[in-house]
Amino acid sequence: MSLRGNISGRLAVGLAATAIVFSACSSGGASGSPAASTAAVASASSAAGASASGAAPASAAASTAAKSLGPCGTVNIAENAWVGYQADAAVVAYLLQNKLGCTVVKKTIDETISWQGFPTGQVDAILEVWGHKDLYAKYVTMDKTAVDVGPNGAQGVIGWFVPKSFADAHPDILTADKNPAILNTYADQFKTSESGDKGQLLDGDPTFVTEDAGIIAGLGLNYKVVFSGSEAASNKAIKAAIDQNKPILAYYYTPNWFSTKVDLVHIPLPPATPGCDTDPHKITCDYPPYDALYKVVSSKLATNGSPAFDLIKNFKWTNEDQNTVAAYIANDNMTDDQAAQKWLDANPTKWAAWMP
């Protein structure tokens, strides 16, 4: 009996506390409506240090003003999880917010899932797409819920890489484009606990389409593809191999923020010729130059007359630009806004050309 009395007593106390809390909230109207506060949280989440730079209150204020006055409105940018993409998003978001008065919500989402946001209106723009022909066919060509707004500008190169120190010590490995069999003489050195009696070729994140098994078969190489499974694991393994002065052969790509941290050399394979990669199980050439990094926006954004659409459509830069901003973020630990501001200040003519 006494126990139950205590429970109801505690309940009463709890209710009273809740009531006080809520009355306090309504009296402190200065802190704003729920909608405004969620928006503030959303923007704070996009840049961990937005509040640290003191930019959050200002941009929040600007965005509320824009909501009622400006033509831009809210732009939802998918934020995919590699640093180069983060650099794209940092610069575009900074311009949208500070020059066009848009409210930008960056949403951390995996690449493939980002596209699902086009038909539902949850995503307005993806700023850097590597391939994904299947998604393109579905969302752009078939469903027409997304619109291709042209190249991102960065030139992608995919291929096999070794540490520069290894290539310096064994320069003949760079003749693999004429004599792919040279790679077999090094297979022993690239052997690991995962590759059995063959050389290991370290592949990475399954997001990137690799044809490495087909290339190995096509060129008659004594190698086995080992999947690290994620970009972080690949980068870490490459970095560790370089630090430990061990040979490593890895599937790798540029532009890539990580290339500012490690020195890797592309091993050329026989150049791509028509038909050399028609049989995916027997490919006899290197990857073609991969310059098709492109941007996609929702058809909603494309048709509603927002200036954000023009800016995203015009946005186009180079590998160096992207790597510079990426290095600000990853190596110098700047917030997205700080990194964007620094680059924009240094390159006024470049971004002026993107403005609507």
Partner: protein, 663 residues
């Protein structure tokens, strides 16, 4: 005492002969392997027709989402409801400012637990601010609160039901297995098709993973209540509801507390994965820090998750303690003191909250007050990576060459009918005919899913991880049950190991052990051991001290007490610990795939990352579940059978001892 020791001795004999049969079987397998290896193997192909068919299912759901009544009338309202809940909580938390929020949580600590917990809670909240992760921590807290409250609201009643009805337990067990083993990665993209991108989908993903332990452990608690206590209450004319409220629930209190704890831990282990579908918070920070390979920053966010776990665990831990000691025995003076405390706490909280709302105190923690944890952690990480790799690489190579490779070769290179026959035979020897049939069916389905080779590679990893997990978990769990000091030391480490996102420690692990299967095993063991320790400890502690005293008085040595009394009597907990070991090791197959373990884990990740690989990923996820069924049926049957040998007597000794020993 004699009744306790004789049957156990006899059981040991049975087990020995069974061990011999087991060894014989493995020997036979190796001989057959020598003759037939390489024949009738199933080599992996990425283009199996089944994978294409599953892609078709996905596309159909996508195309019909907006018109199907199931979506319009059931799933969409669920999503909106959860969204509303999250928004309301977000708005409420945003309004009270950081100072107010810290005070409120501290006050909850003072009122429901005690001063020390309250101080700890306040310290943790301040730490979120000092780590410059206030906003992220609160966002995660909100999502976790919603997911945990929903999990418990659904899980505790179902758990009670499963505790009281054998039929319901049998019905619900396979569903729980699937919920826990099916990798989240596999259903994350269909989940966002159904519930859209964002926090509600993230909450549901978390719910699916965190609900099973709530049900399972609650059921375990209810079943652990002595049958005689229930009978006694029955004979006194209590209704079923009265038995539940007055006998079963109070007596199962500490185990139900464990259910709440594990639900929170499981929910927090989903923080990083759900960040991939735009769940804001600490997971997002970890994903960004991982992309930058910034160990220190991943550690910061990981630490915040661990602290969050600590806050929630300590605030809910009081639920599992007997309330009688705190309130029942209070005299008038103590009661008066308590009233003053309650009134004072409420008053102070109200003053702080209102004051903070009136004064311009910001919603978030001041940004310029911070502590740099990341840099020293990065320095430590760099040192470890630069100095230890010679040893670690050697360990990894030896382990891979002598343990992993032979087992993997045996499994992948044997003719597949032979593997199935051996698995069925093992199941038969260990657990009986039903387990043998279940094992054979599970493996035949793996063949049908066209993922045989990868499944066998994964099975090798899982068997080794599970063996390591159980050995370590049993050793630590028994030690913790026998020593309060050790339990106190090991508990926070366990909580940290369970909630610290695997990627935080896997980053240096990849540097030390490479992107390899070994690193994958490491991840699985670190993640699975804590739950096993907790369940073993809970079970061994539940053994009545009277029985142990009796055994000791009869001259049993310490080891005899452990192996012949405590472990056999904690059988039910050990079975659940094994089940959770299987489940948690399998849950890490995908994470292992993210750090180089390949096989099914990689297939699931690929299915998530590549639109066209969805079917393969889904099939791989189902294969993982099937491997779970295989391992679970074998190990659970083993427990049931071991028990059957001496069931009647053990049970009688166990239950009467519990009834006598129970407070």
């Amino acid at each position: 005492m004699t009744t306790a020791s004789i049957p156990f001795g006899r059981r040991l004999d049975i087990r020995l002969s069974r061990t011999r049969r087991f060894a014989l079987l493995i020997g036979l397998w190796v001989v057959l392997f020598a003759f037939f290896h390489g024949r009738l193997t199933l080599v992996h192909s990425d283009d199996a027709p089944l994978f294409q068919a599953l892609n078709g299912v996905r596309d159909w759901v996508d195309a019909n989402r907006t018109t199907l009544p199931l979506f319009v009338y059931v799933l969409d309202p669920i999503r909106d409801g959860i969204g509303l809940l999250i928004d309301a909580l977000t708005a409420a938390f945003a309004m009270v400012s950081w100072l107010g929020l810290t005070t409120i949580f501290g006050a909850i600590g003072v009122l429901f637990v005690g001063w020390r917990t309250a101080a700890l809670v306040v310290a943790c909240f301040v730490a979120f601010g000092l780590l410059s992760l206030w906003d992220q921590a609160i966002q995660t807290l909100i999502l976790i609160l919603v997911a945990v409250v929903l999990s418990l609201a659904i899980g505790l009643p179902l758990g009670i039901l499963a505790g009281r009805s054998d039929r319901f337990l049998r019905l619900v067990t396979p569903i729980l297995d699937v919920m826990q083993i099916m990798p989240t990665f596999a259903y994350l993209s269909p989940l966002t098709l159904i519930f859209l991108i964002g926090p509600p989908a993230a909450t549901i993903a978390t719910l699916i993973y965190a609900l099973p332990p709530a049900i399972r452990i609650t059921a375990l608690g209810i079943r652990g209540v002595s049958a005689e206590a229930v009978e006694a209450a029955d004979s006194l004319g209590s209704t079923s509801l009265q038995v539940l409220r007055k006998v079963q629930l109070p007596m199962a209190r500490s185990t139900i507390g464990l259910a709440v704890n594990q639900t929170i831990m499981m929910a927090l282990s989903m923080v990083v994965i759900t960040a991939l579908i735009n769940a804001p918070g600490l997971g997002e920070s970890i994903i960004h820090a991982l992309a930058k390979l910034n160990l220190g920053q991943t550690f910061d966010a990981g630490l915040a998750i661990v602290l969050l776990a600590m806050v929630l665990d300590r605030l809910t831990a009081s639920a599992s303690r007997e309330p009688d000691r705190r309130h029942g025995g209070m005299d008038a003076a103590a009661l008066a003191r308590r009233r003053i405390l309650v009134a004072g706490t409420v008053l102070v909280t109200a003053v702080v909250v209102i004051g903070a709302a009136l004064l311009p105190i910001p919603q978030t923690f001041p940004a310029d007050i911070k502590v740099d944890v990341a840099s020293p952690i990065n320095a430590i990480g760099d040192w470890i990576e630069a100095n230890l790799y010679v040893v670690t690489v050697a360990i990894k190579d030896l382990f891979s060459q002598w343990i992993l490779d032979p087992l993997q070769t045996l499994l992948t290179n044997s003719p597949w009918p032979l593997v199935i026959a051996v698995a069925a035979a093992i199941a038969w020897i260990v657990s009986g005919r039903r387990a043998a049939i279940a094992s054979a069916i599970a493996l035949l389905l793996v063949v049908a899913l066209q993922l045989w080779e990868h499944s066998m590679e994964t099975l090798a990893l899982v068997i080794i991880s599970l063996a390591l997990t159980m050995v370590i978990g049993l050793a630590l769990g028994v030690t913790a049950a026998r020593s309060d000091l050790f339990a106190r030391i090991v508990r926070p480490i366990n909580d940290a190991a369970q909630t610290m996102p695997a990627f935080v420690y896997l980053l240096p692990a990849v540097a030390l052990f490479g992107a390899t299967r070994f690193t994958g095993i490491l991840a699985a063991v670190i993640y699975a051991v804590p739950a096993v320790v907790r369940l073993v400890e809970d079970g061994v502690r539940g053994v009545s001290p009277t029985v142990i005293e009796a055994a000791t008085a009869a001259g049993s040595s310490r080891l005899q007490v452990i192996f012949k009394v405590q472990l056999p009597m904690a059988r039910r907990s050990l079975l659940l610990a094994t089940n959770q070991g299987v489940v948690l090791v399998l849950a890490m197959v995908v994470v292992a795939g993210l750090v180089g373990a390949g096989a099914l884990g990689y297939d699931v990740v690929a299915g998530f990352s590549q639109f066209t690989d969805f079917g393969k990923g889904m099939a791989a996820a189902v294969s993982i579940v099937l491997l779970g069924v295989l391992l679970d049926r074998i190990t659970q049957g083993a427990g049931a059978r071991t028990a059957a040998a001496s069931a009647a007597r053990t049970a009688r000794a166990f239950f009467s001892a519990r009834a006598v020993g129970a407070p």
